[in-house]
Symmetry: C3
Amino acid sequence: MQHPLPGHILYGGDYNPEQWSEDVWLEDMRLMKLANVNMVSINIFSWALLEPKPEHYHFEQLDRIMDLLHEHGIAADLATATASPPTWMSRLYPSMLPMTREGVRMSHGSRQHYCPNSPDFRRKSAALVQRIAERYAKHPALKMWHLNNEYGCHTGQCYCDNCAKAFRIWLQERYKSLEAVNTVWGTNFWSQRYYEWEDILPPRISPAQNNPGQTLDYWRFMNDSLLGCYRIEEDILRAITPNIPLTTNLMVAFKPVDVYDWARHMDIVSFDMYPAPGTEPSWNALHHDLMRSAKAGRPHLVMEQSPSQVNWQPQNPHKRPGQMRLHSLQGVAHGADGILFFQWRQSKAGAEMFHSAVVTHEGNEHNRIFRQAAQVGAELAKLSSTVAGASTQAEVAILLDWENWWAVEYLPGPSDRLHYMEIVGRYYHAFHQQNISIDIVKPESDLSKYKVVVAPLLYMLRPSVADNLENFVKQGGNLLTSFFSGIVDENNHVALGGYPGKLRKLLGIHVEEFDPLTPTMNNKVIIKEGTLAGTYPAEVWGELVHTDGAQALGTFGEDYYANQAALTVNKFGNGNAYYLATQSSQEFLGKLAHEICQQANVQPLLSIDSDIEVTRRITTNGESVYFLLNHQQQARQVTLPQGTYTSLLDGATVKDQLTIPAMDAVILQAH
Amino acid sequence: MQHPLPGHILYGGDYNPEQWSEDVWLEDMRLMKLANVNMVSINIFSWALLEPKPEHYHFEQLDRIMDLLHEHGIAADLATATASPPTWMSRLYPSMLPMTREGVRMSHGSRQHYCPNSPDFRRKSAALVQRIAERYAKHPALKMWHLNNEYGCHTGQCYCDNCAKAFRIWLQERYKSLEAVNTVWGTNFWSQRYYEWEDILPPRISPAQNNPGQTLDYWRFMNDSLLGCYRIEEDILRAITPNIPLTTNLMVAFKPVDVYDWARHMDIVSFDMYPAPGTEPSWNALHHDLMRSAKAGRPHLVMEQSPSQVNWQPQNPHKRPGQMRLHSLQGVAHGADGILFFQWRQSKAGAEMFHSAVVTHEGNEHNRIFRQAAQVGAELAKLSSTVAGASTQAEVAILLDWENWWAVEYLPGPSDRLHYMEIVGRYYHAFHQQNISIDIVKPESDLSKYKVVVAPLLYMLRPSVADNLENFVKQGGNLLTSFFSGIVDENNHVALGGYPGKLRKLLGIHVEEFDPLTPTMNNKVIIKEGTLAGTYPAEVWGELVHTDGAQALGTFGEDYYANQAALTVNKFGNGNAYYLATQSSQEFLGKLAHEICQQANVQPLLSIDSDIEVTRRITTNGESVYFLLNHQQQARQVTLPQGTYTSLLDGATVKDQLTIPAMDAVILQAH
Amino acid sequence: MQHPLPGHILYGGDYNPEQWSEDVWLEDMRLMKLANVNMVSINIFSWALLEPKPEHYHFEQLDRIMDLLHEHGIAADLATATASPPTWMSRLYPSMLPMTREGVRMSHGSRQHYCPNSPDFRRKSAALVQRIAERYAKHPALKMWHLNNEYGCHTGQCYCDNCAKAFRIWLQERYKSLEAVNTVWGTNFWSQRYYEWEDILPPRISPAQNNPGQTLDYWRFMNDSLLGCYRIEEDILRAITPNIPLTTNLMVAFKPVDVYDWARHMDIVSFDMYPAPGTEPSWNALHHDLMRSAKAGRPHLVMEQSPSQVNWQPQNPHKRPGQMRLHSLQGVAHGADGILFFQWRQSKAGAEMFHSAVVTHEGNEHNRIFRQAAQVGAELAKLSSTVAGASTQAEVAILLDWENWWAVEYLPGPSDRLHYMEIVGRYYHAFHQQNISIDIVKPESDLSKYKVVVAPLLYMLRPSVADNLENFVKQGGNLLTSFFSGIVDENNHVALGGYPGKLRKLLGIHVEEFDPLTPTMNNKVIIKEGTLAGTYPAEVWGELVHTDGAQALGTFGEDYYANQAALTVNKFGNGNAYYLATQSSQEFLGKLAHEICQQANVQPLLSIDSDIEVTRRITTNGESVYFLLNHQQQARQVTLPQGTYTSLLDGATVKDQLTIPAMDAVILQAH
């Protein structure tokens, strides 16, 4: 299928008219036009209305909603309504309800109360999707399919007997023989050997630490189980509406759902973006870059963001004036071609009645929240013709890997302070603050287009990864990796013969011991020469490193590995491989990233001397559009590189110097 | 029935002679007389002794205890013994045991292990009450019935199938149709619509936030379920002994039990008073005022307090010398006509063996605890003829509402910092420290007798409440209410069209946004003029308030609503309606309360310039008795208003100046 | 049987060759010889390999391992393999799996997933032990039996129906009648009386505090249940191999397992020693002294310690260089005749893959961890001929009691700050820092050989204990006991008539009230005269103490018991009985211990003025061997008493002055 996005920026939100009487619907249409809305997601939680009794379907209301949208020129992102089964289903099929690790069966009464391996759930949801697809295949409002909703949310893992059975089948497919499972899981340890398939269970609560091999496979299996639900719907929809693009709203970098796996089956990657108050702008940026990279750089969508306050944090302050707009523009800056909200009209009852919406409880357009949403709508419409479909080019890649995440955070030691995404975020931030483009890719990706590759905490190396990294460096690339990388293979088996296993040659080091530090322990990194010279903190982790070809750029300052290497670089082929054996400060990481970029000749997108964020999108005509985002609470002066620019939001011609107000953005098209 | 209290102050405690051999009982009688005990509560946990086998009742021991009390002139507050069923009951009727939200069935082995909706529990407990009532109806020791014990303690909510069934019946009675339930709960949200009654369940654990409407109704239902147990006993007892007053020991302002509902069915309101070490005296005062107000000002009882240390806190220090006496006199000062202890004689085994008792493990009268109890007994005897039956008059009322409590603390946002009773306590404290009388009443109460009404955090407005408040102010009353009031109706549906809904006209404001603050956020209240001029903290909550007729007395100092109203007053009819849009300091609330009292011409009970507590009771002859309570660790000088007073504890005649020692009290009868 | 240890110091570790291919085994033999290993524990988690199907046993691999060890002169500590049943067992016998107090059934998938009262587990494990014993009875490698593994670890208490049934039988044996159970548990309290045995259950989760009598008996019962499992194996092994000594690896002072009870059935006491980073050396010392004392002074074994990092703490740093060696020598210093590790070769998979081992993931001898282990092996070999079998003599005993522990920490008040082992540790530390020998014994022990007996927090006095203490003091002994001692009898019934019950006469005091302090409360101990003169902190606990024959050495400084006794001494017969009514600082306890040792003429082992640890072992020839252990991070100068010594580790002759490097030790044989 061709590029599935329509060539303009999408703007809208989740629309739940079934919560309101029909006289409100027309008012909604008026307000949507006022806010420049051009697409809404509907039908997400409508199963109970569509199928009030088993096999009795009622589509009359949905028909009216679809028609209404079409009449008003608003596209429908039509959901398959499978995220929350009707209450009668859990009565008829009690084993459909998910179960905790402790054996507690969940009840209906909130949402997403299904086991992804329930045959009943799968059969009933497929039947519903079939009906919906057949009924609306030709409806002119239908522009996108929204499969289910936030897969894995609330029930990332289920431990019921349905899952036990499916897990065994999954294992049989993966490993063929029980002997292979025993080998991979190392079941001679603790007398865990299996002699019958039926003895294999989910890693339910047990007296001590569960088998890490079993647990890792359970993460894989549950990701596949959720994806299995998606693919059942996918197959139905592709058969009936081959030209309607498919998406589901992913949930940032969410541990149960491997974005890369899923993106292969989605036409458009979309996700829900709910940064907590005080979140670093680089955290948002990382997620946009991930979603864009997951589909090889194709524009993605923000399927949900909050117009202002949410309702599920301990306290839920509003987004401050300008913040929602800045986040929206940041999304576009990083490659999004659509910004949608949860939700259009604020509920008056139910668990999300205090979650903000574009139309507040006041019910009109005369308030801060609606006005701001309407402004953003107008601005995106202005940008649309230039920016929609524009691409992003990156010379730096950060490796992200779900299997590694699952493995490295399941504690049989050595430290509970290894929070993978946090550590990835630290490295991302260090490069992002240089104002360069970054892709977030899998370790097996083609790395040849990058000058710098960063692999934080790459504990697990799947078979081809070490070779991939060696080739990258050999051909002139610059690699930066960290402590506790290269420790295990894809089976979570330690690479024997000296850490970091298959990375030893590339890094030119040998790690004799790794030494997790308690919060009261710390060390120092001492660098004596060069631009990095100084003394920096060393926390969380220390190591006893021997160089074996590499050069020690920095050493530890204390403890029994004082004066031994803490930061090394190894010339390998035409490139360099850096290794940082501890966690240092964000300041140090920034300096190190700068140094490596210099060496790799990776330049900032705009050479301005300021703490604003800069990104670039390249239009289908090959022109550069620069996004200058000021996340600070004060205005910033920016000196532009030589040239003349058009400011796309106000049409002004700009050159030389520019002031960007606090929490504001300027978008410049270069000529 | 006539006034159910006997015209003298009751003094005594829980008496559990079944834990002791009979030779100890006579010693108990001697010690009770020594301590001026005139009533004891018996038979509370005796079901297992009374009914050792199903349908085999043995009353011989209880007969002897009743006779013994009568012989010694001590009244029996005879319990119905239904609080803890015998162990054989949970074997015969396993579904009688309560169940947690996660489906864990509780075991016997401690106490109160029953589901209030268990038909078996209800049938068996009714049979027991019938037998007890018939047997002791004419016994001369019987002066009061003590129904069950601390209803709701430990099992405020049960989630078993008995409860599920009863909940459906309760819903049918309240809402008549399933459609009405769907509407009230807003079940079109998240696909929660019910098509069959049998699909409705208690709000058991589910993957996400349960429906707030369902949860609110479950609180109502469980309160009614517990009250249902009470009413079964009530009906039996009223039929057999129409002239014996009924009580049950409530547990302060305890969330599962709506004191106002229950008080309608009780002849005497009694409660258990266990302040933690360091509790503010105003907290005790609030609860006494609540219990007195719940029965329209009739004297109440302290059914349990601790002679000294308790056993259920993390650490259990003793009450310091004088403290128990001061608490007892404070109870009388606020309207109590009886002070009883848990318990008379300290157990030598069991879960309460380290809870203090009047007779300690030493077993005699020669120790601090017994001596102090005996002193209090003697003093109450002295006060009795003057004070018993005396009334209290208040010009200030604070509104308290259980349904509001249940609704506002069930989080679908916006903040987990809204602790209703804590916030009510802050407002109570502000007025209480002015030494004025306060009633604690329901929002629907007749407010015409008050000059000031305070409605903290009145999130829910039931149908007539807005009118009640408008009428109060229109006729010259002064109302003070706070942020997040007037948000929802009785169904927990948001009042659309602008906050605070039906209070907008009365308050003359329009709240565009409420903004819950995190612990690291704060703002300021700035008041430029008048007696309140100054800058005060603003925490927990901010708002974007527009005046719409009201006058802004104070404004916010920071953030995007800086310079907009934080404290407003609206002249409405002949009165004033104040609104405080944030949580400020206790100091500020005190000033504000003082200002409002001045304006409303509410004067302190005694104009003394000291930090002692003062209350007044008005005797049946119309004379004033003033209680001067010094809760401080140092003595206080008090200058009395002109006149001569009799000090009731020592008979002295007092005028002009008076010293009250630390932790001591003086009780003055004015002439 | 004769002294079961072989006359030399054992050195080795857990060996799990089944995790490795056979070619690795020969390399293991080479490395073991290099490290001076002379014994390994094998077969601990091999049940699944030995019995792959019910009743199908396969010993071929174990045969080869036993033969290999014998060929290389390494003794086998052969485990019975019963600690982790095969997975098929939990399918065939689901009731074999343990259950939590909340009714959650544990799953297999980790280890030790058995209920100790499961008839299936007991029958199947006995059959396995029988087979193993028969097969290897005559094998020349067999030198010791290792029963099961870490009994009670993970499943200290099970609450299933098997346990309920066994608990009733246990109660019938202990109490004969149900009436006696009712009396002991005080079931007239809270209507808990039992009329049928079948109504008695484990103390499962219930609405309130479970009955303390029931809970105490459940601790006793579960200890006996675990010991019952041990004794089934013991009987089989003693019948088949009467000359092979039995041990099981205890887990320090572990609450579920009463070391004294168990030691009676063990030929050699061994235990697992895993101090957390930063643990005081005195804590290790206490446990060695306990294990030695449990078997009347016979040398014990460290069955497991970690060569370096472990994997089950939040963060797992390495043992610093020298630390493992110092801990090993400290063990020998306190009476151990063997030091073994978990484990020999580090696993490459499974839940302990990041637990250190003698052979690391590098797999060779060229690293810090192996080199250090080899050094310790060589040093123990040097010490062996002199030290093995040497004894320890102590003049000070500290009383330790499991039943007291179980009773005093089950909260029905009065304080959750009474951590028994922590308080015992404080008293131990105070005496240990004087460099004197200490035994850790039961309260009923023969105390006549001691000069000082310390009884911290001896809340429970079993029948003969008061007499035992009185006799000890009467004959000239010095007793030191603390607050909250002598409160209850063996049934957890309070001793009525005044605290501390049966200790009143001996201590010459009467405690009217005990007053648990919150963390924000504190008091002072004021001592006006003598070597202890000063003001000291008083925390956790205060008391209202009256002297009744005793002399008040110190008084409280504040609160309502200011100026009343805080520290007393009572002359009783020829001895002195001290009582400390509060918890003071470690500094004060040290001074008090010093004072009491002076008075009792207990002298340090070596009179050196330094903060190093000194112990003495007396060889079978009657010669003294002194262990001087420097736990500090700096070197220490030591002045030796007159005489000449041989330094056993290096053979040097030493006199007068000596320097001990940081984290190092010197072992001197006196001549």
